[in-house]
Symmetry: C2
Subunit: 208 residues, 2 copies
């Protein structure tokens, strides 16, 4: 598993001449780090003097960010598996008509999975941004830059995941599927840009 590798080995593997892991897994990891930073900022706020009034909100945020962090961490490997499944489908035998048909179906199913996986990453990264916004300007001000970085990692995660959706769309034969997923991806991107702008506005009030 990629997430069981050492950080430096993971980056080394990324840099290698193998196409996987690639941008899709990095987008998921970016979002997972964003969620991790939201959790840290929440934990640095709970129980601190001056933040009693927002304690309930921060507690709720922490529960939600930890849930998203867990899922995004798993998606680091799932995205690479989705890519490998596409590669494996292309390697299926294609001698007979029956083989050709099975292979084509497997390729389509694999590409659909390689779209649904980053689409989920985009949705969860948007969730991280919304959590960051919910506590921006309210959580521990000493960790304002950490919350800002959380938002930037989550936003990069949405953008990266949406690129991974887009690059696979032309391979899909089911036009209703591809139209639907494209619309969803662009909606996530639009919301993310909006929320990201609001978070940075709050953070900039604190750190200038």
């Amino acid at each position: 598993m990629l997430i069981k590798m050492q950080v430096d080995d993971f980056i080394e593997e990324l840099a290698s001449d193998s196409p996987a892991p690639g941008g899709g897994s990095v987008a998921a990891l970016s979002g997972a780090m964003g969620a991790g930073l939201v959790s840290m900022v929440a934990r640095l706020t709970i129980g601190k003097k001056g933040y009693e009034d927002v304690e309930d909100l921060i507690e709720q945020t922490l529960v939600a960010s930890e849930k998203i962090r867990a899922e995004l961490t798993l998606l680091v490997d799932k995205d690479t598996q989705a890519f490998n499944r596409v590669m494996a489908a292309f390697k299926m035998p294609k001698e007979t008509q029956a083989e050709k048909s099975l292979r084509s179906d497997a390729i389509q199913a694999a590409f659909q999975n390689a779209i649904l996986t980053p689409l989920r990453v985009a949705e969860l990264c948007l969730g991280v941004l919304e959590l960051a916004l919910s506590i921006a300007g309210k959580a521990n001000q000493n960790a304002a830059s950490d919350l800002g970085v959380a938002a930037q990692m989550a936003y990069a995660g949405v953008q990266g995941a949406v690129m991974n959706v887009k690059i696979n769309l032309p391979s899909i034969k089911d036009l209703q599927f591809s139209e639907e997923k494209k619309t969803k991806a662009l909606a996530f991107l639009k919301s993310a840009k909006n929320v990201q702008g609001q978070v940075l506005q709050e953070i900039n009030k604190l750190i200038g």
Copy 2:
């Protein structure tokens, strides 16, 4: 060392109630992953049919991205060490006048280091963006989304690092130092935004 931790353990540590590692280390890691992806895209281009004309450019990009990747990987730990050094300086004894003076000097030196470290991260992440731009639209088109994610990670790295510079500036007594570093940080941010826009324009031509 943080970079010797497992990826999932690193994210877990990030999410903990300890302020370090925090956003500064994540910004460096984000840039290192961006550099890793630039290297991967370069390696997926070298020796491939149809890319003979750009081989020299791609080879040069690979050498440069691997150099930046190595330094940014080390900066993941250096940023957390810089933060810890500030904390350690605050814990120095302050009973006598001599102790107070030593402590104050140590705090100032530690804060300057905690500004210079993310400033270097910002500079190197900008370097990753420039490398991505130099091969955007020229490198292996199958890896277009990977190059796009590389740029997004590098851009998030610049933004995150600049936030870490900014949050430490008010602690600096040497106003010439702080004015100089602020100007540099804002210049990196401005260039990064510009280069990032150009990279995405090239990538969007390929993946729509």
